[in-house]
Structure formats: C-alpha cells, structure tokens
C-alpha cells in the first residue's frame, strides 16, 4: 500500500472477496519529508486506509535493497549515458522479488498491488500479465519481468477497473485517498532539485558538445549524462528550420549527435537481459518501448528485434516489452 488510491482499493477489493488481508507499505527511500516517496504522510495514508478497512498494517524497510538495486544502478546508467527505468528495476528487485520472498517467509499466499494490469490464466495452465482495463493507465509494461513463479503469487485486482471506477469505489468506501492525485515521475527525486540536482550530488556531470551529422559543433549541453536519445529540447541550438533530435550520446567523448527525424529511425534493436513470462519467444510480436508508448509490430530472433517498419531509436537502457495481442511475453533492455 503506497498510500495511493489504487492500492487502497486493492486492499478493499481483496477483503471484500474474503481474503485474509494485511497491508504493507515499503519504506524504500528517505522518509523524512512530508511529500514524495515513502514520506510519513504516505505511510500514514496507507495506515489510515487499513485502519478504516479494519486491516492490520505494517511497514517494511527495504531501503538498503532499494539503494543497491534501484538508486545506484540509476546513477550508474546516467553516468554511462544510458536511460534507466527505475520503476521497472524496483518492480524487478523489490516489489516482486524481495517482497514476494518476505511474504512467502511470513506465511502469506500472495502479494497484491494496485497496478493497472491483469494476471490471466491460460488454457495450458500458464499465466501472463495482460493489459489493464483502462488503456491509458495500463501498467503492464512495468510488470513485464514477472515469471511463472511470481505470477502464481501476484494479484492485481484493480486491473479490471478503470481509474475512474477505482476512484468511485474509493469514494463509496469512504477512503481518504479517493481524490489523491496520481504519483508522478521518479519517486526518489523530489521536484525541487530535479534529476539534475539528484545526479549532481552523486556524480560529476560533464559538459558536452552537440554535433550535427557532419561532425560540426552546433551547440553545447551542461551535462552529457542527462541527454537521452530522441530528445529535442535543451541542446543549446539556434532555431532550426526543421526539428532535430538526439541520435546518439557518447559519454566517452562527451558528444551528442543530432539529426533529422529520419536519421533517428532504426530497422532493428539489439537487446540485453531478456526475460520471459513462460520461456523464450521468437517470431512476430508487438513491441512497446516506453510506459505508455504505442505498440509496433516486429520480429524477434534471439537478442535482435527487427521492426516491421523502421522506428525511432530506442534509448539504450530503456525496456523493450513484447506482447501477443494484450498479453506480455517478456522484455529486455535496449543495448
């Protein structure tokens, strides 16, 4: 229970379905502030919702694991000019690994979260993550790493509802989180100092040169570590006749190369760290490369995905998730 409306309603739905439910809030980061991730205010919201429902509530401190598996890799990825997705790493290593392990140890049969996605049982006995009922709120992308063992232990009860329905249920139940705004951005980065301030206090940021496709310098950036492939703004360029995009980032030489939209198109994506719902897949798949991106058709062969039609370059480090219709087959990181 994050203290948000989705996990509040999750708890209520499971309780109504007759499960023996207890609430858990993960303390992952900081916790001194009154807002942002793991703040005392959020833990209080979660606890008061649990109280309201008559459920026990606990707080688990997974801070050291969060540092090791989410924050440190996030910083290292930026330092290497990659584009990390900390929410996915948190799901991979904390919510659906550490918490599942803890729940198992404590004698619980399942862990439920408020993600907008569904776990579907297939005729052959396997399970998959499928898109949630609320298309624009679908979170199947960030759950692509769940394997059969995890899927057997995970419940996602709000995946059958739209966000509006979730808020309606919360209001009907008198839950204090009914109108609480959705969380935004990277949870451990407070809006004040932002990503740059966060990284600045941990690594040296390097000024970079912006080159056009002929190698001529046309601009500069304050911090090469903050530039992402596909980025359009903040490159210190004079007004261009047609839009330009970052086509590559090289931390070693501190250079950013820009090009036109068509220069950004790739025929294929090389992949690392492939994970599968129920075994490796090859052949035609639908592919999504950001949390709410449009799925595009491609063909998987080993660790290479070939697009049916060329697509904008996927920033190295981003998750590439494979679907069969609305079901997740697996995913990988763009090399």
């Amino acid at each position: 229970m994050s203290g948000g409306v989705d996990s509040s309603v999750t708890a209520a739905l499971l309780q109504a379905a007759g499960h023996d439910v207890q609430g858990v809030t993960l303390r992952l980061w900081g916790g001194e502030a009154d807002q942002g991730c793991c703040s005392v205010a959020d833990v209080e919201d979660a606890r008061r919702v649990a109280d309201h429902l008559g459920l026990e509530h606990h707080t688990f401190n997974f801070g050291p694991d969060f540092d090791r598996h989410v924050v440190e890799p996030y910083v290292a990825a930026h330092a290497a000019g990659r584009t990390p997705n900390p929410c996915i790493e948190c799901n991979r290593h904390l919510k659906f690994d550490r918490l599942l392990e803890r729940a198992d140890l404590l004698g619980f049969d399942a862990v439920a979260t408020g993600h907008h996605a569904r776990v579907v049982d297939r005729p052959d006995g396997t399970r998959r993550i499928a898109r949630g009922a609320d298309g624009p709120k679908d979170q199947s992308y960030v759950l692509h790493m769940l394997d059969q063992a995890a899927l057997a232990q995970v419940l996602l009860p709000v995946g059958d509802l739209t966000k509006a329905e979730v808020r309606e249920r919360a209001a009907d139940l008198g839950l204090r989180t009914a109108e609480k705004p959705d969380s935004q951005d990277v949870c451990f980065i407070q809006t004040g100092a932002g990503r740059q301030g966060f990284l600045e206090s941990r690594i040296d940021l390097t000024p970079g040169r912006v080159l056009d496709d002929t190698g001529r310098q046309v601009g500069e950036v304050e911090a090469i570590e903050l530039v992402t492939v596909g980025q359009r703004r903040g490159l210190g360029l004079r007004r261009q006749q047609e839009p330009v995009f970052v086509t590559s980032v090289d931390v070693g030489t501190a250079t950013v190369t820009i090009g036109r939209k068509e220069d950004l198109l790739d025929a294929a994506v090389a992949l690392d760290d492939l994970v599968w719902a129920d075994g490796p897949v090859a052949g035609p798949v639908l592919v999504q490369c950001s949390a709410h991106g449009e799925p595009r058709p491609g063909v998987l062969a080993g660790s290479v995905l070939t697009w049916e039609a060329p697509q904008p370059r996927v920033a190295p480090g981003q998750s590439v998730v494979f679907y069969d219709a609305d079901q997740v087959l697996g995913g990988a990181l763009a090399r």
């Binding site: 809030t25 303390r27 916790g31 793991c38 005392v40 833990v43 606890r47 606990h58 707080t59 688990f60 401190n61 801070g63 690994d97 392990e101 803890r102 198992d104 140890l105 404590l106 004698g107």
Partner: protein, 372 residues
C-alpha cells in the same frame, strides 16, 4: 510497559476531582497546585534532588532537549556514541563531539578524558544512565569524576529515562547536574516527564510563555499526568529491590533459554555470560541470518510484542546506531531482537517467549530462500 493500576487510579482521580489550574489562586487552583507540589516532592525524593530542582515536562524527549539545548550555553558539547536521538540529535545540531563506547556499550573513560583534554570550552557533557536498546548501565559516578577533572566548567547531564526501574538514580546520578526521566518507563502515563536541574546550573528555557516551572518550562502543567507519574515513581522505588531481583531472574532464564535453544544466537555485548552491567529489563539478542523485521512480524503474530532497535515515525525498523557504536557487525545487527521486561512481566510471559522465539527463528531459517 503497562501503566500501574495505582497510577491509572491517581490519573482518574485528579482528572475527575481536581479540575483546577495550578497557576490560579482560587480554592480549586490551590488544590491542583498541592497535587503538583506533592508530586514534585516525590520526584525530588526518588531522584535525589530538592523539590525546587524538579521541572515537569511533556516527556523524556522534552527533558533531554531542554537539558542539551538549554544548558549548553554556546560552549562545546560532548555526548556518548550511544545516546538516544532525543539527546544525540540536538547535540549534533550544536556540533557535539562524540565519546566512544566499548563492545559492551560502556563509555570508554580514558577516551572521554582524552577527548575533554583536547577540547576548549566544554560546557555540557551528556551520558545516558541506562541504554535504551541493550540496557548497558554507564558508570556515571566515574564519568562525573572524569568530567570534574578534565572539564571542570562543564555541566553533566544524564538521560535517566530508562533507569528508574532498575537502578537507584538518586545515588548513582548524585554527581549529575541534570537528570531526565519519563513516566511511561516506570509504569506512569505517556507524555509526561521531568528534568532535574541542580541549583546554580544555568538553564535557558526552550518553551516560553506563562513562566510556569519557575520560568524553566512555560505551559500549564499536566497535573493529572504528573500526579500519576509520582504515584508510579513512588511504587517503583519502594518495590525496586524486590522487582529487580525477580526480573533479573526472569531475564536470565529468558536469555539463557533462548541461547540454549538457538546455539548461534549472540547476546549483544555480553561476554562470558556476565550480565552484571546490564539493566534487568532488557534482553538483547542477535540471530545471524535472520531479518529482524520478519522476526518481529512472526513474533507479533504469535502474541510476543518485541522490537529491533528504537521505533521511528513511519514504523519501519531502522539499522541501530547503538549497535554500530558498539562495533556489532552489520550482518549481526540485521537480526537483532530486543525483548523488554517490566514490573508486570510474569513467569508465564517468559515461558511463552521461550516457546515462541526459537520456533520462529527456526521457521525463518528453514524458509529462507537461498537464490538471492
């Protein structure tokens, strides 16, 4: 620790029968003031001070804050490395220097002397009497001697919040200039405490207003809470000799029983089974390879309420600064368990804990996945 029934009765009596504000002048006010003055006499007696030296506060943290922030007078502050955050954090805010402890959690007196010798203008030294996590009793009389010799201008504060049930504070803190106590640690209600301020010790008030408590702590006193605290203090001290003997035997049976049932458990900071330097009310154990949070969860489920380190605002267990200061390895500290005993603890409670703790530890070890 449960509130003593006598304290509950006194709290109820005062709330019901004595509604007056002790700062007023009419009969009801005078009746309330009499209750407050009687309570002040009791606290003075059990803490070994004059009645006028006792300042009532809203608990132990307020007493500690008032001592550290009110008596440091802009000079250098020195605190031990195992202080409660109520002392440690305000002290660190004043740029305090830290005096180390040994592996038993006992202040290193030579190191303290050397630290004081190397500092100018030390105005305040704060060393707790009994540690809240592991129960180590500090040699306060010897600490006072070191402070007199090596920082003669400094005042000595002791956080005695954990002490009154276990040691004769009046005797062992006789050389301290400031003493903090908190009612709920000896069977009184939460949210009420006291600070002893010896005559001649300069104390700047932190809470300003109506000038109550001789201008050392403004705000209308919690008369019923203070009266209940005095009732609890009186009974605690009257029964202390017997209670300490009884609870020491219970604690020893508990610790020995767990150590026998779980042979690789470590009794924190204890070597050769010598528990003489420890308060009777604490049994601190570490179970290698067990996560404290999971242990506490299952103990709670089995009806054994315990803690790992001290509690914090969001309820999550925090790594213990006290164990770190004692040099307990992090892996060992990760599996720490603090079992507290008090005036209400019975033989049956210890039996229950002995039945549950080893079983839960072994269940956690059996269920522990190894693929991480």
């Amino acid at each position: 620790m449960p509130v003593r029934p006598e304290a509950v009765a006194e709290l109820t009596r005062v709330l019901t029968e004595l509604p007056g504000n002790p700062s007023g002048s009419h009969a009801a006010a005078r009746a309330a003031r009499r209750v407050l003055d009687d309570a002040r006499d009791v606290l003075a007696d059990v803490l070994g001070s004059g009645p006028g030296d006792v300042v009532f506060t809203g608990g132990g943290t307020e007493a500690d804050n008032l001592a550290v922030l009110g008596a440091s007078g802009g000079g250098t502050v020195v605190v031990s490395s195992v202080e409660h955050p109520a002392v440690r954090d305000p002290a660190l805010g004043l740029g305090a220097r830290i005096a180390p402890v040994d592996s038993a959690g006992r202040l290193d007196l030579d190191a303290l002397a050397a630290l004081l010798d190397g500092l100018d203008g030390v105005s305040l030294v704060s060393v707790m009497l009994v540690n809240n996590e592991v129960g180590t009793i500090q040699p306060l009389a010897e600490v006072a001697e070191v402070v007199r010799r090596h920082a003669p201008e400094a005042v000595l504060h002791t956080d005695a919040v954990q002490a009154l049930s276990w040691v004769d504070v009046a005797e062992v803190a006789a050389d301290a200039d400031l003493i903090s106590v908190s009612a709920h640690k000896f069977g009184g209600p939460k949210g009420v405490g006291a600070l002893v301020v010896r005559p001649g010790v300069a104390l700047a008030a932190r809470q300003i207003g109506g000038g109550q408590e001789r201008e050392r702590r403004s705000g209308t006193q919690n008369v019923a809470g203070v009266a209940a605290m005095a009732t609890a203090a009186r009974i605690t001290v009257d029964r202390r000799t017997d209670d300490v003997a009884r609870i020491t035997a219970l604690r020893d049976r508990l610790a020995d029983g767990v150590l026998t049932a779980v042979p690789d458990a470590v009794e924190t900071g204890i070597t050769g089974g010598d528990r003489s330097g420890r308060a009777a009310g604490l049994c601190h154990l570490c179970f290698p390879g067990v996560e404290a949070e999971a242990l506490l969860f299952l103990l709670d489920e089995a009806g054994v309420a315990a803690s790992a380190a001290s509690s914090c605002a969001s309820g999550a267990a925090e790594p213990s600064a006290v164990l770190a200061a004692m040099g307990v390895p992090r892996e060992q500290a990760a599996g720490s368990l603090r079992l507290s005993l008090g005036w209400a603890t019975t033989d049956a409670d210890v039996d229950r804990a002995l039945a549950v703790v080893p079983e839960v530890v072994s269940r956690l070890r059996a269920g522990k996945r190894v693929d991480a």
